[in-house]
């Protein structure tokens, strides 16, 4: 009982009411508990540790969709149309951090590649994923050209997001087989989260149409391919793709890459629908 969703007091009161024999009352309580768990879509009562991290983005999404949310705030406005559009079809939004033990980081010739694996096995089979975004945080490069500077082109780098769909068989190459999902040219002088559309890959993985080998993120500088390795490393460190590239360990939990899935389990309205109705 202590591990379940019914508080101990409630269990005790029902058992002591004497309406049922102790065995029957226990079986009634267990049945009721199963219904509660089913209602929440849980297998057992969650017992999160103190180290559990709630991404700020999820809190912002909650405020955006809850009845009391202030939709005019800067934060909710900055969340973009993508999240709003995706949430309009979803009644379940899940967030995932990558498995750090499985990450593979490589830096070569002015580019950094990072392989991520997100364990998505907790998504129930009946949940249809309608959209997914990979969010990566970029810190402003100190001394980079301001947005209106004539040296703008020099302060740009490109972020490419690939789906890994296998490793070459019978080849000496260790490079994984990938296909491009999304790409963006970003400016060094801005600190912000970048959101990439990874819906096709995640939909395939969760619907069982393809195995999940993870993503590869590539950061490169089109204008600086000839730059020295040290310079390149310094710039790439501002894209928070790996703990090893992140200086401030305390802020890493809130700055690390985040995969957000938008799905519908076939029951009820979307989260956005609730807000509009209210």
């Amino acid at each position: 009982g202590a591990a379940g969703l019914i508080p101990e007091v409630g269990r005790r009161k029902f058992s002591e009411s004497g309406k049922q024999s102790p065995e029957r009352s226990e079986s009634f309580l267990n049945e009721f508990e199963l219904r509660l768990l089913k209602m929440f879509g849980l297998g057992r009562r969650p017992t999160p540790s103190k180290n559990a991290v709630v991404p700020q983005y999820m809190v912002d999404l909650y405020h955006m969709h809850s009845a009391n949310g202030d939709h005019s705030t800067k934060r909710t406005k900055s969340m973009g149309k993508h999240a709003e559009r995706a949430a309009s079809k979803a009644n379940t939004i899940r967030s995932f951090h990558h498995e750090e033990s499985m990450e593979a980081l490589a830096s070569l010739k002015g580019k950094t590649t990072q392989q991520f694996y997100f364990n998505l096995t907790s998504i129930p089979k009946e949940e249809l994923i309608t959209s997914a975004e990979l969010r990566i945080y970029r810190d402003q490069v100190i001394g980079a050209a301001p947005p209106n500077s004539s040296a703008l082109a020099g302060g740009l780098h490109r972020i490419n997001i690939y789906e890994i769909f296998g490793v070459p068989v019978g080849s000496n190459s260790t490079e994984p087989l990938v296909r491009l999902l999304d790409t963006r040219l970003v400016q060094d002088s801005l600190s912000r989260w970048e959101s990439f559309d990874v819906s096709p890959a995640v939909s395939q993985w969760t619907s069982g149409q393809g195995p999940n080998h993870g993503f590869m993120v590539e950061v490169l500088h089109p204008e600086h391919e000839e730059m020295d390795s040290e310079h390149s490393q310094r710039r790439n460190k501002h894209v928070r793709v790996s703990r090893s590239l992140h200086q401030d360990q305390d802020s890493w939990p809130q700055a690390r890459p985040l995969l957000v899935t938008y799905g519908h389990d076939g029951h009820g309205d979307s989260v956005l629908h609730t807000r509009q109705k209210r």
Binding site: V54, N91, R94, R278
Partner: protein
């Protein structure tokens, strides 16, 4: 005085209507895994479904007939005061794998009550 005595003996029972009920998740120790909200206004329905049923009690045809039968045969119960309209809420919580989920749960808030 006689009237007061009679009222005490047969207290006037309020008609079926929605009452305030705030569910505080810390009361059931669910605040350990539900991040937001801390609680919510769920409301509940309570009250009599008297004969004859007034319009505002949202009664179905069956409830009207059942109430009519009850007026002549008290062994048949009156209609019940129940939620007739419910709405959803969004919960932000950590699941059993410590994954953070924002989910919309339907039928969590009573919007209207009636006799059924």
């Amino acid at each position: 005085q006689a009237l007061r005595k009679q009222r005490r003996k047969h207290p006037h029972k309020a008609s079926c209507k929605r009452h305030t009920l705030y569910v505080d998740f810390s009361d059931v120790q669910w605040n350990e895994w539900i991040v937001a909200p801390a609680g919510y206004h769920a409301y509940y329905c309570q009250g009599e479904c008297p004969f004859p049923l007034p319009d505002h009690l949202n009664a179905t045809n069956h409830a009207i007939v059942q109430t009519l039968v009850n007026s002549v045969n008290p062994s048949i119960p009156r209609a019940c005061c129940v939620p007739t309209e419910l709405s959803a809420i969004s919960l932000l919580y950590l699941d059993e794998y410590e994954k953070v989920i924002l989910k919309n749960y339907q039928d969590m808030v009573v919007e209207g009550c009636g006799c059924r």
